[in-house]
């Protein structure tokens, strides 16, 4: 890293902007704007700052439609939207995937369209923190806001998460370094533990590094739980960690005044998957009998939590909700994007603010290549190569305002700082347009003639007796 002199050539500053990168949603950013472009960002980490400042890098500027030769060609908005609307209207098993890098306002339009047409709505949780959601449905979910961590936490554990690299300001703003109300000496008042097979950058600035074996997560947590409950370990080491070290760690955890476990994909995607999180949640619950503990999944995209929250209050389920029958169905392994694609079910795929081309397994992407794919995004990515229609959106929190939910569930209204490129449109507008066009092309599917209450409502019992 070389020295970069501070930027002094700017027109004005927009304060308290929100970072649209990771799940930290840092809302204390100052954008330095010159000629309708953010030339510098104050307070942000390198990830956030570069995303905001390099917003025109590989930017999708104009709508495109794949022509008969299979080449994406630029076109006008009407043609692109009509083509996309036709693809959706002519499909019988559409999947709308993504949503984690756009606002809840945009999701609202998408859900309306999805319910109308009978689509599956899913987000990136299906390939990242899905196991965490699954585990919380098994075991519970003791969480806290990040301010609570700042003010109270004296023991902070990162498990399977290299926050230093993935959520760089997480340590600085909340978990490790800041002076909290009850932690006035900041870093010196906290014990930081990193559990990771790798000696990561987060481990480097921790007080304890527990480098258990790869895929040793479940066994290791199991051992911790046993020790918490006063049991003696039978073997000399568990998952490659000597028994004494586990006793020592449990001692630290039990004596915490306020402990927090942050876990990332290192825990959700090793052998055991959601069972790892199950047992981590159980461990936190056990610890609450003698101390105060909470946990928080280190959500990746800035609004990935927002989609789960949004879907939960709109439909009752967090992700992978299938409306094809006229009511919501949620069944992991059945109504999730990867499973659907691998089974070659979808016949139309809309990806909104996500990049399946880069992240999905090959088998899933192979099917994507065979069906119409509509991409609503701001940047070029492998998904663009799969797309048949490309609709360039705008950058939430920079060019367009919207609501997002931080990893701990705190909602933030991300304001607009500059104008979007003239040829682009807001995500919300694009999806609304699509919705209206689809509605013109096709009748609503699977509408019941009359409302039939669910038997659980117990009206049946009364009717029988009539």
């Amino acid at each position: 890293m070389s020295y970069e002199p501070p930027v002094t050539d700017y027109d004005y500053i927009v304060e308290n902007c929100t970072c649209a990168f990771c799940g930290c949603n840092c809302d204390d950013l100052d954008f330095l704007v010159k000629d309708n472009h953010v030339v510098a960002v104050r307070h942000a980490c390198r990830l956030g700052a570069s995303k905001v400042m390099e917003d025109l890098d590989q930017r999708l500027m104009v709508p495109m439609v794949r022509n008969e030769e299979g080449v994406l060609t630029e076109t006008d908005w009407d043609t692109a939207l009509d083509t996309a609307a036709e693809y959706i209207a002519n499909s019988i098993r559409p999947v709308f995937y993504g949503w984690s890098e756009t606002s809840t306002e945009c999701m609202k339009e998408g859900l309306e369209l999805g319910e109308y047409i009978g689509a599956v709505l899913d987000n990136q949780a299906t390939i990242c923190h899905g196991p965490s959601l699954q585990a919380m449905q098994n075991a519970g979910y003791p969480i806290q806001t990040l301010g609570e961590v700042k003010n109270r936490a004296d023991v902070v554990v990162y498990s399977g998460s290299n926050a230093m690299n993935s959520h760089p300001r997480h340590l600085a703003r909340w978990a490790v370094y800041p002076r909290g109300y009850f932690r006035q000496r900041g870093r010196f008042d906290r014990t930081v533990v990193t559990m990771d097979p790798k000696f990561s950058d987060t481990a480097k600035c921790s007080d304890m590094w527990i480098g258990f074996e790869q895929n040793g997560d479940y066994g290791f947590y199991n051992a911790i739980r046993a020790v918490i409950k006063g049991k003696k370990l039978q073997s000399e080491s568990v998952s490659g960690i000597p028994a004494e070290d586990i006793y020592e760690l449990v001692d630290v955890m039990k004596n915490a005044e306020f402990g927090v476990l942050f876990f990332g994909l290192g825990l959700t995607h090793t052998l055991g998957k959601q069972r790892n999180i199950d047992i981590a949640i159980k461990m936190v619950q056990d610890l609450n009998a003698m101390s105060k503990w909470g946990l928080t999944p280190m959500r990746g995209h800035f609004n990935v939590n927002g989609f789960n929250i949004f879907m939960a209050f709109e439909t009752g389920w967090a992700f992978g909700v299938d409306f094809c029958r006229g009511w919501g169905r949620y069944m992991l392994g059945e109504t999730n994007t990867i499973d659907l694609l691998v089974r070659k079910e979808p016949d139309c795929f809309m990806v909104v603010a996500a990049d399946p081309g880069a992240h999905f397994p090959n088998g899933a992407n192979q099917h994507l290549a065979d069906i119409p794919v509509i991409q609503v995004d701001i940047h070029w990515g492998p998904s663009t190569e799969l797309a048949d229609v490309v609709l360039p959106g705008s950058f939430i929190s920079v060019e367009c305002a919207g609501t997002s939910y931080r990893m701990d569930g705190v909602p933030i209204y991300m304001k607009k700082a500059i104008d979007k490129p003239e040829t682009c449109r807001d995500d919300e507008w694009i999806i609304r347009e699509l919705k209206e066009r689809v509605m013109k092309l096709r009748e609503e599917t699977n509408v019941a003639e009359k409302y039939v209450p669910n038997p659980i409502m117990d009206l049946k019992r009364l009717e029988k007796e009539e």
Binding site: E15, N16, D27, T104, E115, L133, M136, Q137, N138, G140, Y141, P142, I143, Q144, T145, L146, G147, E148, K150, N151, R152, R179, G180, Y181, F258, Q285, A289, S291, K292, G294, I309, F310, A312, F313, E314, T315, G316, W317, A318, F323, G326, W327, Y330, T403, Y405, G409, V410, P411, I412, Y413, V447, A448, K450, Y451, P453, N454, I456, M457, L459, L462
Partner: protein
């Protein structure tokens, strides 16, 4: 649009109309003295006409609701039904999703619901959900009972600053009133502890719940808010907790009710919510018994107190409360999946599924205590219908509760045929109570009293000029004996013949015929601007240092408000 509801049998307790046959006129969104000849006539002869229901206390929108939905997909699956041309697909039983909540309230003839706990930090979330709930107006009350600033003001006795702070926070969070949950207890939960009794101190804050509650009540009356303090006292759900409840209510006795216009509608200076959970005698669950008679006796002798019951309905439900330590206690008893959410500097929340079974002693005891409270409090204006939805049961069970209240034989039948556990009569006095509610009293506890308690100047009655929020139920009270037909009572109140909201027919014969966006009701205190600015100025360094968001991003922007109804509380 103009309507005449012709020949209905009207129950309107606020106007002391008890079963008179009369016409109700609707002009646009209001009830009118008269209408023109073009008015559409709806024949409701031999049907009951009441103001639309007002729910005094329910949890229908907000972060902990969503947490419940996120981690209980099994509950969402329990209530699914297919979409129609009018309504979206339904989902959920104890914690239905937002659209479903609105539809189900509408079918029961409800028009207004109080969302009983809104943490200011996540108020935007609550408002997003309110905007998603159709058909009912919602007034969210803001949580102050474990707020660090309030605790500091209470300790230092700075009531005026506290009042200014409340005024500012109501505007920031777009809240309606002052909610207190387990004062000091949820703060203690920040360290895994709880407070025990009314005179226990929150750790590090050197302030007792008594000091805090009294200060909040004084500040509330100083501002002259439309609603009194809305309190969930300490020791919820613990055997032997009734003295804490009585102590809490007693401590408000000397506080004078505000004489300001907005506060004139209500009579009370304290509203104690879900009293059932706070009326236990005994020392442990082994010897627990009902303390309902003592609590009811206190309410009967003190007209500055109102309450709602929190009636247990024998369902599988999801308990969720800002009383987080209590939820952890429940977890240790039941071992079911436990969720928790602590919110910095403000509050905490806990969630756990709960199965209230009539076969278990504790569930039955709670059921009986709830009914006892309904039957022992003499004045129906002082006790309201609630299940503390979803804590003691889902709101769709209100009609069933009504059937229990209207039918002593049904209650005795449940006790005698062993439908409920024997603690129902061995540990409570329920078997000795033969009081039965009539339709007038039911109208009082489900609409008139809740509206009055919340200080609504525009609903809860059929007065001309009020909102045209009306429910019609298909029964002729003159040739119907609710005491002998409890199941019919339940059926009648489950599906309204008509639900009219803001002059628009939403439900006909129990089916939705239309939906409309909801309104959010919030309180805007005027005339405290200087004090508010001073208080905010003083708190700002603290806020910047110890909150995790910026002040600008903390406030609820107008963008989030769904058709707001602003209740202005004029200058001092």
């Amino acid at each position: 649009m103009e309507y005449i509801l012709k020949n209905g049998i009207v129950y309107d307790p606020q106007n002391e109309i008890n079963g008179e046959t009369m016409d109700i006129f609707i002009k646009d969104d209001q009830i009118a003295e008269s209408v023109s000849d073009d008015a559409k006539v709806i024949d409701v002869s031999n049907k009951i006409v009441m103001p639309a229901g007002v729910d005094v206390h329910a949890h229908v929108a907000g972060p902990k609701l969503v947490l419940g939905r996120l981690y209980r997909p099994e509950d969402s699956r329990m209530g699914v039904s297919q979409k129609t041309k009018i309504e979206r697909a339904e989902a959920g039983f104890s914690i239905p999703c937002c659209p479903t909540t609105g539809y189900r309230y509408s079918r029961m003839g409800y028009g207004t619901v109080c969302e009983a706990a809104m943490p200011p930090l996540e108020a935007k979330h609550t408002h997003e959900e309110i905007a998603t709930i159709p058909n009912i107006d919602i007034n969210p009350v803001t949580l102050f009972g474990n707020n660090w600033f309030c605790m500091e003001y209470a300790r230092e006795g700075r009531i005026e600053e506290m009042a200014a702070y409340i005024a500012a926070m109501l505007r920031v969070s777009k809240g309606y009133g002052v909610k207190i949950v387990n004062p000091c207890g949820s703060e203690a939960w920040g360290w895994g502890q709880n407070v025990h009794g009314y005179d226990d101190k929150a750790p590090y804050f050197d302030v007792t719940s008594r000091q805090l509650v009294v200060a909040l009540a004084k500040a509330n009356e100083m501002l002259g808010l439309p609603h009194s303090i809305h309190i969930h006292p300490n020791d919820l759900g613990h055997p032997g907790n009734y003295p804490t409840t009585v102590e809490t209510l007693k401590s408000i006795k000397e506080i004078k009710k505000s004489t300001k216009k907005a506060a004139k509608i209500r009579d009370q200076t304290v509203h104690n919510t879900h009293l059932q959970f706070h009326a236990y005698d005994g020392t442990s669950w082994k010897d627990a018994s009902s303390g309902a008679d003592k609590v009811a006796d206190f309410i009967n002798h003190n007209d500055y107190v109102t309450g709602d019951v929190g009636q247990v309905t024998f369902d599988e439900t999801t308990t969720m409360t800002a009383d987080a330590p209590m939820e952890y206690d429940l977890f240790q008893i039941s071992g079911l999946k436990w969720a928790n959410k602590d919110i910095e500097c403000e509050t905490a929340a806990g969630i756990i599924p709960c199965i209230y079974s009539p076969k278990t002693p504790v569930g039955t005891l709670q059921w009986a205590i709830g009914l006892e409270l309904f039957l022992l409090v003499d004045n129906p204006w002082q006790i309201c219908m609630s299940t503390d939805h979803p804590n003691a049961g889902p709101f769709i069970r209100y009609p069933r509760i009504i059937s229990w209240l209207m039918s002593a034989p049904r209650r005795m039948e449940m006790i005698e045929n062993g439908e409920v556990h024997k603690w129902s009569h061995k540990r409570t006095g329920l078997a000795g109570l033969d009081r039965e509610y009539d339709f007038y009293e039911i109208a009082t506890i489900t609409r008139a009293a809740p509206a009055k308690i919340h200080g609504f100047p525009d609903r809860g009655a059929l007065t001309p000029g009020y909102k045209a929020d009306i429910a019609v139920y298909d029964v002729n009270p003159n040739d119907f004996d609710p005491s002998r037909n409890p199941e019919m009572v339940e059926r009648i109140f489950t599906s309204a013949a008509y639900t009219i909201k803001d002059g628009q027919i939403l439900v006909k014969d129990g089916d939705l015929v239309a939906t409309k966006p909801s309104h959010v009701i919030w309180t805007d205190v005027k005339g405290w601007e200087r004090e508010e600015a001073q208080v905010l100025n003083e708190m700002m360094p603290f806020f910047t240092q110890y909150y995790s968001v910026k002040w600008e991003n903390y406030q609820v922007h107008d963008h989030f408000l769904s058709n707001p109804i602003k209740v202005e509380v004029p200058a001092k």
